[in-house]
Assembly symmetry: C2
Homo-oligomer: 401 residues x 2
């Protein structure tokens, strides 16, 4: 069984390592060797052990009839989309960690794979190495999933963990970049775009109906300051960037935003670059998956698990619950959360008028000159309306119940 | 697709409920209805909605050629073993939560299922509703699993959580019984026998070689007192009953015992009847699965997920990594842990002589007249040897690193 890797970066290189280091276990499970035959990359890798396998010509890989599974680890939409389509069209299975491509064109690619009796698999696109996605298409298919809540982006979680310990945002970001957790242009991570794509994939799988990342209201972590952490610490909360999916009455609501998370909540215990995801099913209750959200070998291990699944089912289609049917979007009035709001101290009475008497005032050890409070559970729509009526809002966060 | 349930107790009743309440989702996934045709129980259930399905004659169920999947929820070895064999022998798949049967006769039953082109599945036997076992036979097959560490028994974890809050063992046990978490005869839970069976199943799946529960050294929680909790609290530990599997150099070591668990360790955050399991793979690193370890509907949901898998593959065998090959047993000298030991205060010098200068003395707020310490990492064998040379040992616990 020959395979190819598109993109010899962190994930692609990790896949080569896993194929090599766990060669025997793989051969034992598959019943034959899984041999890396080609690597597509525009760069050359002089001295690399796989130097001779590298080509910049995708057509050369396609022309090798013995290649049955391709790992797409290029990232980005183009030419990953075109290459994936060409491979699937030829009946070659494609396994990927590319959340941008999966969240944007996943349904079309899964359908194409089905039509061509091969597979399009993407376990590594959410939660790195955690075996999180497959249950949505297997063990949990009979459950009515009502909620998915996750810490899905390792970079922002690392930054928030450092800020919790006293770093300023800029310092924390710099440390993340030095450690290789954040890219030079960190926009996709810190603005919540990466978490949004993963949330879109989770929402689509959980409901069996497609949710586009474009439809998901997304807030990043750039607005969070040491003052927010002061309130959080004083009142027993952590701050986490949360991807939230709610499914009721046939509709799907999704949201990405930083939340105050009570210290006793399992997601508050997710530190550094770890990821975690809580899934609620109507019969099952809550289950949580936790593990390394980043790391070349962990993510690569998830890609390899897909490559093995595709290889074992070579010639047929491995089912994934990602469909073309667009999800019914939940009304903003049905999506409920509690909100933590900070306003200028002159705005106290206006805040009570806007949010009602049931708000809970919050104090922080070293903050003066402002008022902060937590609202009761209200809808996203009601929150926006009330917020508009208030001058001097200094910041807000949602609160995980 | 017709199915039958053997044993109409907590799990069997839960399976009937899941089949009923999630009927539509099940039919959608399976492509046809999954209809409950028979329930085997010696009791009658006047007024129950499934009253008419109940029979005390297993042969009647076997004679119904339309039954393709059976849920065995009788518990115990006999006649569950005989009934399972008869069903598999006829090519009927069997799905179970019966950890006693799986840990004792699982390999033989899986082999029989393979020979007869049907399936023997047991997701619900460990971790209740948590989709924990399937990855060992699918997504993790290419990983070299080196360690599995779990809180696997909800009843003892509930008791330990209550004791943490100040209850005496007897009071905590009584509360567990009142809540239905512990049986009238709680031996299997509090002596660690249930956790041992689950650890045996995990060890067998993780290494792909059979470990019998008889081979696993097992200590329960009956010896733990408020003094131990005093030390734990003072020094930042929780106490958890841990199932531990270590795999190196082709050998498997397994152990069930109460451990001191550092407060910052994820397993210290597992309270009440919840279960959690950390799996370490050579490429993956650590992943954790967390969820309801008990509860009729959660466990039943896991059984139903197996029933659907068996039904979708009716006529063929669903692979599980449980083999007849006996595991090579790890030498007691290779199994390393740190130990927390309490001795009479007169035995301090003897303790230093027995365990060496590297022991760390521990204090507890309200304990007088004794010495307590934590040893460096030593082997089970070395610990036993040292312990034998000491008089006046008041108690010991292992320490999770």
């Amino acid at each position: 069984m020959k395979v190819a890797i598109l993109g010899y970066g962190t994930v692609g290189g990790g896949v080569a390592t896993v194929l090599e280091q766990n060669e025997k276990k793989i051969a034992q499970y598959l019943g034959e060797d899984m041999t890396l035959a080609h690597i597509l990359d525009l760069r050359t890798f002089p001295g690399d052990r796989n130097e001779d396998l590298v080509t910049d010509d995708f057509e050369k890989i396609l022309a090798d009839e013995s290649v049955r599974v391709i790992c797409e680890a290029m990232g980005g939409l183009h030419p990953a989309y075109e290459f994936t389509k060409k491979a699937l069209d030829k009946g070659i299975s494609v396994c990927t960690s590319n959340k941008e491509l999966v969240s944007t064109h996943g349904p079309e690619l899964v359908q194409l794979a089905k039509d061509r009796h091969c597979s399009y698999l993407f376990e590594a696109s959410v939660g790195g190495g955690i075996p999180l996605l497959r249950p949505f298409s297997t063990t949990l298919m009979h459950e009515r999933i009502t909620r998915v809540t996750g810490v899905l982006n390792g970079t922002t979680n690392y930054i928030l963990t450092r800020m919790e310990e006293g770093d300023a945002f800029e310092t924390a970001l710099l440390r993340a970049q030095q450690k290789g957790y954040a890219e030079k242009d960190p926009t996709a991570d810190i603005e919540g775009i990466d978490a949004c794509r993963k949330t879109a994939i989770l929402a689509s799988l959980a409901g069996g109906a497609y949710v586009s990342p474009d439809e998901i209201p997304t807030e990043g972590i750039t607005g969070i300051t040491s003052v927010d952490f002061d309130y959080a610490r004083t009142n027993g909360y952590a701050i986490r960037l949360i991807g939230q999916v709610t499914l009721t009455g046939g509709a799907t609501g999704a949201l990405v935003a930083p939340f105050l998370v009570p210290e006793e909540h399992p997601l508050a215990g997710v530190h550094d670059v770890f990821n975690a995801c809580i899934v609620h099913g109507n019969m099952l209750g809550n289950v949580m998956f936790f593990g390394p959200g980043a790391g070349d070998k962990a993510t690569a291990s998830a890609v390899v698990s897909d490559m093995l699944d595709a290889a074992l089912h070579d010639g047929s289609h491995v089912f994934v619950n990602l469909t073309n049917v667009p999800a019914l979007r939940m009304d903003d009035e049905a999506m409920m959360n509690r909100f933590f709001v900070r306003v200028d101290e002159t705005a106290k009475n206006a805040a009570v008028r806007a949010f009602g008497e049931d708000i809970t005032f919050m104090e922080a050890r070293s903050v003066r000159g402002e008022w902060a409070f937590i609202t009761p559970k209200i809808s996203e729509q009601a929150f926006r309306d009330a917020l508009h009526s208030l001058d001097e809002v200094r910041g807000y966060l949602r609160v995980l119940k």
